[in-house]
Structure formats: structure tokens, C-alpha cells
Amino acid sequence: MIYREAGQFRTTYAADTRIFPIAQDRLGMALLLAAAFVAVPFLASEYALTALLIPMLVLALAALGLNILTGYAGQFSLGTAAFMSVGAFAAYNIQLRLPWMPLLVTFVLAGLISAGVGLVFGLPSLRIKGFYLAVATLAAQFFVDWLFTKVGWFSNYSSSGVITAQRMVIAGVPIETPERRYLLVLSIVSVLALIAKNLSRTRTGRSWMAVRDMDVAAEVIGIPILRTKLTAFGVSSFYCGVSGALWAFAYLGTVEPQAFDLQRSFQILFMVIIGGLGTVMGAFLGAAFIMLFPLFLNWLFHALVRGEVRPGLLSQLELVCFGALIIIFLIVEPLGFARLWQIAKEKLRLWPFPH
């Protein structure tokens, strides 16, 4: 009843190619953004901002990056954390060695450096496919970890190999309070998400999807495979690199190479799978689920049986519950949260007269 497009006519070509063709969607998105930008910083506690929202947004950005590569272009990768690591270390070194560089430019440069590394590790994708490619991208994971541990220059010869991100200042304004850090992360993530959404609707995005669906057919209709695959690797690594830089600067404040280990890559891969391959929204929903749900379980279990069950057992129960939920969810809806959202929208269109 309320969610219906009857009466909304698209009279121009531009109106037809909008991201949200339905007015209600536009309104919903505007409300969501307004809430995220205005209401949340005022209402959310410091805990919610620094321990939940900031890491969730940063990981959502990384998931978005992986989604471009895996969801849109169909190339498996287990090197996500490595590209995040490159971004974090690049941003640190740029700020350290070129202190006059504006912070936002630093993040972009860190993303570009990461994109460069991504291109190199994307080269094998031209010859190998599927799970074999996933194994090949593992090399990135181990190589980057090894490089940053072995070569002291990257961590400015810190005795422990841990780098401490510099303080963030944009145009003279220090970004130190949780609210400011949250707004910075939210702005960067929003802009990059918008770009990703648009990218997926352009020629580039369509050629990614063509390659994903069948690369031979794509080549036959004239899509250059080499360029398509490599742009996917480059753009994906750019997103991961920026996300890594944000992880270091806006969230943890320090980075040790082990912070971006294989487990992080898997975590992000699960976000993409649970959220929904090949959707922008899926990255956010997946990040929220993988990142926040264990904390919610932890909080719930503590509240329910505080002091009655051994804490060690409790922590293990949480893992069991979380694992079981993932399995149940993947059986019920293998296409992820984004698909559930889509189904909900379709149902809503017909509501309350489904027949």
C-alpha cells in the first residue's frame, strides 16, 4: 500500500537510470543517511561508536572491495587482509615521511598503492580460475605479512614491528573524538559505496558481470578479459587499502602485521557470502551480521546466565551458536541477506493484497 510505484512516471532518460527509481526508496535512503549522519553521533554512546559502528563500517568497506572482485567479477580472493595491510602501512609511511600531505589525499594514495599491489597479484587470474585462484591470492597474504615483518623500513624500525597511526587532522580540525572519527569513516564509506554502486552500472561493471557469468562468451562479444579482470583487482584492492588505512587510523590506532592475517580475509569473505554476492547492500548487511552478532550473543549470554555458567564454556557456546546460525541461514537463504531484503521489498509491493 505504502510501497508502491503506481503514479510515478519516468519521463526522462535520466530518471530511468536513477539508482533508486522509486520515490519511497529515495526517501528511505535519505532518512537512513540523515539518521546515520545526524542522529547517530548525537544519540549513540561512545561504546557504540568506537567499538561497534566504526569497525563495522570499516569492515563493510573491505567487504565492498571484495564484493567487487568476487561478487561482480567472479574472481575468488583470499588476499583481502593483505591489501588492507598494504593500505594501512602505506598511509602510515606517507604520513610519516611526507607530513604535509593532507589526510584524505593520504588515504587515496594508500588506496592507490594497494591497488598497484592488487594488480600484481591479480595477474595470475588470467591463467587460473576459481578455487585455484583463491590459493594463488593466498600468496599475497603471506608475502605481505612477511615483507612488513622482515623489512624494518615499513614500520620505521619499530622494535616490535607495530606501527602507531599518526593523529588525524583534516584542514586544521583534529579528528579525535569518537563522533568525529565516526563521521569521517561514515563519509568516506558513503562516498565509496556510492561510487561502487555507480561503477557496477557502467560499462566496466557490466563487463565484470559478463566475465563472471561466462568469460569465453564475454570475450566473444568483445570484452577484453585482461583489462576487465585487472580493473576488478585494482578497484577491489583500492577499496581494501582505504579500509585498511581507516582500520589503522580511525579504529585501532596501531597496526601489527598480524592484525591482517588470513583469519581477517576469511572474515571478510564470510561477510560477502552471508550478505549477498554482487550487491552493495550485502556488504553492509554481512559486515553487520559477522561483526555485531557475536558481540550481541556475548552480551545476551552474559545477561542471561551471569555467574552460573563458567565463562570459558560460555564463550565456546557463543561460537557454537554463531556457527549454527550461519549454517541455518545459508540453508534457508543461500543468496544472502541482500536477497532477503529484495524478497521483502517484492512482498511489500503487493501488500496487503498478495493475490
Binding site: S159, T164, Y251, L252, E256, N298
Partner: protein, 443 residues
């Protein structure tokens, strides 16, 4: 459908109600966060460390009715030893209780690193006993970080001095070959700088070999060690790396009594899986194992007799990590006691407890009063020196238990301190940290 919905509502209401009742706390209590790790690869250590810590706080509550009448309350949060979960736990627990968290002790170098700036801004002390950022021992730049008792650099000099003793004098180290085998993490790399400095000073040939985390694969490293033919191997290991290290050493036939682990490479959990081949292996210790101490016996008498003990496996009471947890409890409680002497017998803020930590002075008589003679080393913390002790004992595995084989061996402070000051200063200039004037802060 309808009943189902009602069930959900009921469940949600119940949950909210329980959470509400759980978070209510009395006024006269001191809140102590317990960011433990009871699952994951390092769970064996975490369970005992935090079990001992909680048992000691229980002892203070049950026997003495708290610290000068102020009861300790605590809440656990699972960190899994990971920085991101640790930060979440920190944010979750830092404002609990009437005065907020008293102090944090994560027993994870990665988490400690991630929280130095946050804890300083929030004015909550970060206690990093025998772990964490070494140069934070310079309290002039790191007012809220306390690497109490010892840190990686002091510990490394303790070990080299012990080797010197065994060789019949430091002069005999000249020309010897010593390997530092370390865990491939921030923690493992930390001692390298001081190790090389000592190689210059004493003229031994140093070789650093890294084991990639988590450390279960070491064949290549031990092959390298066998080719190098060192006189001694120093190990900075953690978790699964340790038994793997001993197994590989036994396989290449390296003499066990020439391998020396640091304080995180010498627990029952590390040697028991290896069995007989580990016999003779030596490690450093900041706390002895066993129950021959009044404080441990008191815990058994008061806490475990009442069925309130935290350890499910009671055989672990008196193990190395358990005793280290008790040691953590002693230091925390004594620091709060010192702070209460200045600010009054009531729940204190992190800022006030920081003062207590900085003015902590555990001398022999106080240690005896706690019932911890020979259990903890004398400790005198100051604005300048946030470490306080620096000594270690050495222990040897006799096949069934650890046996202390040395007295407290003091750290080479003349060597360590200038390096700490230099490193802290470099960090401070990188991060624009102010320098405190310790002369002005005489209580």
C-alpha cells in the same frame, strides 16, 4: 503464528529485565574489568591467568571484606587475545561500576599497544606485567602505562646474565654463539634490539631466527640452528609455539639445559605435551610455581573450601600461569590500597589508582604481610620508572614439575634504561607527547 509472536515478546521482555537487574551495582564497590581469553589458541594460558586473578580478588573479598572495606566487583569479557575484540571489551567495561574501571590488564601485547592512547585519554591505567610496550616503562612519556615487575628488555638481560653465570662470568660470553628464536609477532620481535645491544657489549655472536605465528612449524628454523651450532638458544615463544619448539629441539638433539625460554615460554602447559624429552629445559620466571606460599594456601583454604574457586581444573591451582594471575591480583590490590591511603577508603577512579600504581612500594615486610615471600620480588615504582622490579628467577623442568634453580637475577638497568629513554623519546616526538617533570610531582 500469534502464539509464536507472543513467545518472542516474552523472551525479549525477559532478556531486558535480566539485563536490567544484572547491571545494578552497589555504590561502595571498586570495579575491576577482567578481559580474559578462555577460547582460541592461547586459552590454556588465559584460563589460568585470569582464574588466579579472580581467585585472589575473591580471597580479598571473602577474607578481608574487600580492600579496607571496599569490595571488589568484576565482569569478564572475552578478548580471544585479538586487538579488535580487546578494544571492544575495553570500551564495554571502562565505565562500569560507580567509578569506572580501576585498571586494565589484557595479557596481550597486541591489545596493549592498541589501547595506550585510548587509556591515556580516558585516564585509566593500563597494567602490562611482563608484556606490552617496553619503552612505556618511561613514565615521563607514558603516565598511564605500567609494565610492572619486568618487561621484555629487562627480561632479556636477566637471561643473558644467567647464561653468563652458567659460563662462569660475563667475560666468558666472548666468542660464544647465542640464538634468539622468537615468535613472529610484535611480542616476539620486541627483545631483538636489546639482544643485539648485548651482543655488542659482551662480544657474543648473535643470530635472530623468527618462527612465523602461530609457531607450530619449526623444522626449517631448527635446521638453521643446527647449522649455526649455537652454545645457547633463547626462546621468546607463546602458546602452541612452545611445545613445538621443544619437540623440534629434541629431534635435532639440542641439549635441553642450553635452551632458555622467557617467562611466557615456561609453563606446565608448554612442557607437559612434550613429555620426557623436555627434561632439563630452563626458563625464566617472575613467579615461582607451586603451593608452598601462604597466599596460595589461603586461597585454597578460603575460596576453594567454600566452593567459590574459579578454576574448574583444580590441579592447575599453583601452576605457573595461575600463580602469575595471583601475582597480578596482588599488584592490583596493593596499588588500590596505596591510592586509598591518599584519596580515602572509597571506590576510586582510574586517575586516583594511577597515583597508587606510581607510588607502589612493595618491600620485604609488606610482601611478608601479604603472605607472598619468595613469591613476588620487591617492587618500587616511581614517576620515572614504571617497571619497578626487573628481576627474574630461573627454573628447570625435571620431567614432572618446574624447580627454581636460581635466586632473583637483576636486570642490567644501566644498559636497558638509556635504550628505553631513547625509544620513548622517539615515540613521543612522532606522536607529539608531552614530557612530564617528575621532580614536580613528589606526591
Amino acid at each position: 503464528m500469534r502464539t509464536n509472536k507472543r513467545g518472542w515478546c516474552l523472551g525479549a521482555a525477559l532478556t531486558v529485565g535480566l539485563v536490567w537487574s544484572g547491571s545494578a551495582r552497589a555504590e561502595g564497590e571498586q570495579f575491576m574489568p577482567v578481559p580474559s581469553y578462555r577460547i582460541g589458541p592461547y586459552a590454556a594460558g588465559g584460563t589460568s591467568l585470569y582464574g588466579g586473578f579472580i581467585d585472589y580478588m575473591n580471597l580479598i573479598n571473602m577474607r578481608d571484606g574487600g580492600i579496607n572495606g571496599v569490595k571488589l566487583v568484576w565482569e569478564e569479557c572475552e578478548t580471544e587475545y585479538k586487538p579488535d575484540r580487546g578494544v571492544e571489551c575495553y570500551e564495554r567495561l571502562k565505565a562500569k561500576g560507580p567509578t569506572g574501571a580501576a585498571m586494565f590488564n589484557f595479557y596481550s601485547t597486541g591489545i596493549a599497544y592498541a589501547l595506550i592512547n585510548k587509556a591515556t585519554a580516558d585516564k585509566i591505567p593500563l597494567v602490562t606485567i611482563a608484556h606490552g610496550r617496553t619503552d612505556a616503562a618511561d613514565g615521563r612519556y607514558f603516565p598511564y602505562v605500567f609494565p610492572l615487575i619486568t618487561h621484555y628488555w629487562s627480561l632479556n638481560t636477566d637471561i643473558i646474565r644467567y647464561i653468563g653465570q652458567r659460563e662462569g662470568g660475563m667475560a666468558n660470553l666472548k666468542g660464544k654463539k647465542i640464538v634468539h628464536l622468537h615468535h613472529g609477532s610484535a611480542y616476539g620481535k620486541e627483545p631483538n634490539a636489546i639482544f643485539q645491544k648485548q651482543a655488542e657489549k659482551y662480544g657474543f655472536e648473535a643470530k635472530i631466527i623468527e618462527v612465523p605465528a602461530p609457531g607450530s612449524e619449526q623444522q626449517a628454523q631448527w635446521l638453521e640452528i643446527r647449522q649455526f651450532k649455537p652454545d645457547w638458544v633463547i626462546v621468546t615463544g607463546w602458546g602452541v609455539m612452545n611445545p613445538a619448539m621443544l619437540k623440534n629441539a629434541a629431534r635435532v638433539g639440542f641439549p635441553m639445559d642450553h635452551i632458555i625460554g622467557n617467562v611466557w615460554t615456561g609453563s606446565e602447559e608448554d612442557v607437559e605435551p612434550v613429555g620426557a624429552p623436555a627434561k632439563g629445559y630452563i626458563s625464566a620466571a617472575i613467579n615461582p610455581p607451586g603451593k608452598d606460599f601462604k597466599v596460595i594456601q589461603e586461597i585454597e583454604r578460603v575460596v576453594y573450601a567454600a566452593g567459590k574457586g574459579n578454576m574448574t581444573d583444580k590441579n592447575r591451582v599453583g601452576s605457573i600461569y595461575y600463580n602469575r594471575g595471583v601475582l597480578t591480583g596482588i599488584v592490583a590490590v596493593e596499588a588500590i590500597r596505596v591510592a586509598q591511603g591518599k584519596f580515602g577508603k572509597k571506590p576510586l577512579t582510574g586517575e586516583q589508582i594511577r597515583w597508587g600504581l606510581e607510588n607502589l612500594n612493595l618491600d620485604a615486610s609488606r610482601i611478608a604481610a601479604i603472605g607472598a615471600t619468595n613469591f613476588i620480588q620487591p617492587l618500587k615504582v616511581s614517576c620515572n620508572d614504571h617497571e619497578g622490579g626487573g628481576a627474574a628467577k630461573f627454573q628447570q623442568w625435571d620431567g614432572t614439575k618446574w624447580k627454581i634453580i636460581s635466586d632473583w637475577i637483576q636486570a642490567d638497568k644501566d644498559l636497558v634504561r638509556p635504550m628505553i629513554e631513547e625509544s620513548a623519546k622517539k615515540y613521543a616526538t612522532e606522536n607529539n607527547l608531552p614530557l612530564r617533570d617528575c621532580g614536580k610531582e613528589k606526591s
